[in-house]
Amino acid sequence: MKRLIEFKDTQREIHNFRLRLALSLGFVLLLLLLLLVRFVYLQVMQHSHYQTLAENNRISIVPIAPSRGLILDRNGVVLAHNYSAYTLEITLSKVIDLKATIDELAKIVDIQPGDRKRIKRLLADNRKFESLPIRNRLTDDEVARFATQRYRFPGVEIKARLFREYPYHEQISHLIGYIGRINESEIAQLEEDEIAANYRGSDYIGKTGIEQNYESELHGKTGFQQVEVDAGGREVRVLSRTPPVSGNNLVLTIDAKLQGVAEQAFGNYRGALVAIDPSNGEVLAFVSKPGYDPNLFIDGIDEQSWNELNNSSDVPLNNRALRGQYSPGSTIKPFMALAGLHYKKRTPSYAISDPGYFSLPNSHHQYRDWKKGGHGSVDLFKSIVVSCDTYYYGLANELGIDNIYSFFSEFGFGKKTGIDLEGEVSGLMPSQEWKQKRHQQKWYAGDTISVGIGQGYNLVTPLQLAYATAILANDGVAYRPHLLKEVQSLRTSEKRILGMNQESNLNLNAEHLALVKSAMVAVTQPGGTAARAGAGAPYVFAGKTGTAQVIGMKQGEKYIESKIQEHHRDHAWFMAFAPSDQPRIALAVLVENGGHGSSTAAPIARKVLDYFLLGKLPQPLLAVDEAEGAEDD
């Protein structure tokens, strides 16, 4: 009996067991079905989505930076070029501890504290660098040393890159400018202009000068390479390649040799010189002294050099030719003379008797001539040759500021010339409205008198004065000054010639022009204020000296140069064009704190003219005899 019950129990047990086994099988089938559903979902329904993801994983678009266009002078002299060198670069996403990696690398290649600072700044720059340069311009030894240790540094690679170099260093620096690493605000600008994609492979962009102004020509078109990459980002093979298009070469209007002569002629003086071909507006020389070495800026300037440049009392970073604003001084007189003739306030033969000062009717205030006792009888011709102040005090008073303003505006005073450089300033040509707006004061007759000899409110840049000189030299036909002569495409060897357009014609009276020009020629000849600078010139050139006061003199006080601190001395001006009958060059020279125009500025102009017209390289600067220099205003 007992056995039977037990047996029945076993039967039930087996029945129960098989039921549970069947349930388990159902459970297994259900879960396998779940997997199958999941596979169908992933591999059929979502297949294209994951296909795309897998392709994106696999294929990486690598930009290939184009090589930047060269900058050449008008004769093909290279002013900015590229060279290839090895750099050590870190791909940030692949390096865990950047500092430790750099410390390790420092044992193999030379990494200066300056390099570390630069890296830190680049990191702080917030730009997502695909790779960060640790060291530029590795030596062959360093390349070899790293190559043997390379396995220790995943994510660190040696790359051959093109570097910009400015072979003229401090010369022409203000004109060429420089490139530098692209910063956050420049990225924003590129994105706004919708050209950011073209900069994906580029680390540099033009920051100042020609490099900045013609960035779009110089940069070129970025190429792309489709590469298959593995999970570590290493290239496995190249799938397709769109080559980059090199940037265009720029041929400037500048004559590098002339520029060199001009820079050398300045010696240790600060100042600026702009020389223009009056017949087409081509800028032949564009000097701002002192210069700086643009090569320092390419990879971020180191702190010490920056402080030296930035804190120097010589302000080498200031582009004086473009942005320096100075009182024009007596260089304004030829234009005043033309205005006087134009508005019929003066005739060529009308002469005043100069007592050495000018007073307004009903006023005791004396406007002094630079020459005590005056120049005697002075007509228009002589007024320019001897730079008679009294003549122009009276003329300015009679012309009135409104006429002066409108006549001078025609010559570009108080306006940007529109040269192809960023950052030009407009100088200042004062008017009644300007004074009301700026100083909330009405215009006084005395204001006009100061303006008449270029010592009033008016301010000019060396570029503006050179432009005005060129217009005068070209008989009133104005060409916008420009630095770019030609764009050469390397790919198509196509050349585009730019900027020959006539800007305007002032329609000046030929007789008036001839008179003023002849007076300016006389300036450089015996009896003129620049006679010494003109002595022995085998060509005829026209000029005008000028002096811009830096500090005001009290009534009756004598200006004695040797007693005044160097930085308070007057600025010396000289404007010139040559040859006088068919001008090929017009220029303006400013020498900061140079004292008299005739003693410092005019000799520089003479050297430039000698080289330009005669091909004559200058002798070492002649010592200027200070005692004899008091001949001009």
Binding site: L21, L31, L42
Partner: protein, 365 residues
């Protein structure tokens, strides 16, 4: 003895049906491993060695009479427990977990042993108390299960702990634990979830969170899952072709030869290949069920059922984790993934199945 009779004795305890299915799966393993390892013959040869060793283990166990197995249950379980406790105190730490024990010549992972020892012990226990099974016995059996599971979970080795828990649960379930007790336990388990959560390691919690949304940490822990899903999904209907998986061969897939080998297979052979693989697994499982259903004793029924269901669980958890429906818990794909211990343990289990199937008649007579 003639050669023929020798052969007959050699294969007497092997199940040809099961053996054929296992052979196909092992062949797949070698083929996929060659691709997954990037054409590394050494990897393939090493796996062949693993298979060979495991086959020897299979043959030995298959030829072992069942009472040998039963007798081994208690010593093996006790040995496993001692080793697990030793690991908890003297174990070596690697990858943030204390799983290995250095026994001088080599390091061993006692939790692997428990994969066999736990169901064996439980089945032995039920067999011993077969005649007078009460709730108390189920409770004791549960304790026999939970002790090693808790120790392994603490190492921490969540994957192994869950799978051993599953194998033990299958024994309990097949041993006939009442539905009411099961449901009550389930409710208690659910209620204690928050408590369990608080005892989990950060990386385990993270993995569970990752299951819900792998994309939230696409470059960190989620990377593996996402790359695996991309591999599977991009495989499409028929796959990218053998040796042509881009995710595999461009290093995007992690642990390609071990835990994520299914992604390699799936990328190169597509949905079609997956169905073939699922069918092979299903065939092995079905054969296991047949053996289980026909097993003669309580012990062998429980053992065979647990072995079969645990094998399925391994396969499901691995494929589920690679295709992104289960968290990444570090479970290899049974019979396919590279690895010696796993292979030996698995084939040992199938050896037991064969032994159960072929020694039945001997027991009955």
């Amino acid at each position: 003895m003639t050669r023929r009779r020798l052969w007959q004795r050699f294969v007497a305890h092997l199940d040809p049906v099961l053996l054929a299915a296992l052979g196909l799966l092992l062949l797949v393993s070698l083929v996929v491993l060659y691709s997954a390892s990037g054409g590394n013959w050494f990897r393939v040869l090493a796996q062949m060695t693993n298979i060979l060793v495991a086959c020897v283990a299979l043959w030995i166990v298959a030829n072992m009479p069942l009472h040998y197995l039963m007798r081994a249950a208690v010593p093996v379980y006790l040995l496993g427990m001692v080793l697990l406790i030793a690991v908890a105190f003297f174990g070596e730490i690697a990858h943030g977990a204390r799983r290995w024990l250095n026994i001088g010549v080599t390091t061993i992972q006692p939790s692997e042993l428990m994969r066999i020892a736990v169901p064996l012990m439980m089945a032995w226990y039920f067999e011993k108390h077969e005649a007078t099974l009460t709730l108390k016995n189920y409770f004791v059996a549960t304790l026999l299960l939970l002790l090693p599971v808790a120790l392994i979970a603490r190492q921490p080795d969540l994957g192994t702990a869950i799978l051993i828990a599953a194998s033990g649960f299958y024994v309990l379930f097949l041993a006939g634990i009442s539905w009411r007790v099961m449901l009550t336990s389930l409710v208690i388990l659910m209620a204690s979830m928050p408590l369990a959560w608080s005892t989990l390691h950060d990386y385990q919690r993270h993995r569970i969170m990752m299951l819900l949304d792998p994309a939230q940490d696409a470059l960190g822990s989620g990377y593996h899952t996402i790359q695996a899903i991309i591999a599977v999904g991009s495989g499409g209907m028929f796959g990218k072709g053998y040796l042509n998986g881009t995710q595999t061969h461009l290093d995007f897939l992690p642990e390609r030869t071990t835990d994520f080998i299914f992604a390699v297979y799936s990328e190169e052979f597509g949905l079609f290949g997956n169905i073939v693989l699922l069918s092979l697994y299903l065939f092995v499982i079905a054969r296991g069920f047949v053996i289980t259903a026909n097993a003669s004793t309580y012990f062998t029924r429980l053992m065979a059922g647990s072995i079969t269901l645990t094998f399925f669980t391994y396969a499901f958890v691995n494929m589920g984790m690679v295709s992104g429906i289960l968290p990444v818990v570090g479970v290899p794909l049974p019979l396919i993934s590279y690895g010696g211990t796993s292979m030996v343990i698995l084939l040992l289990g199938f050896g037991m199945l064969m032994s159960i199937h072929t020694h039945k008649k001997l027991v009955q007579t």
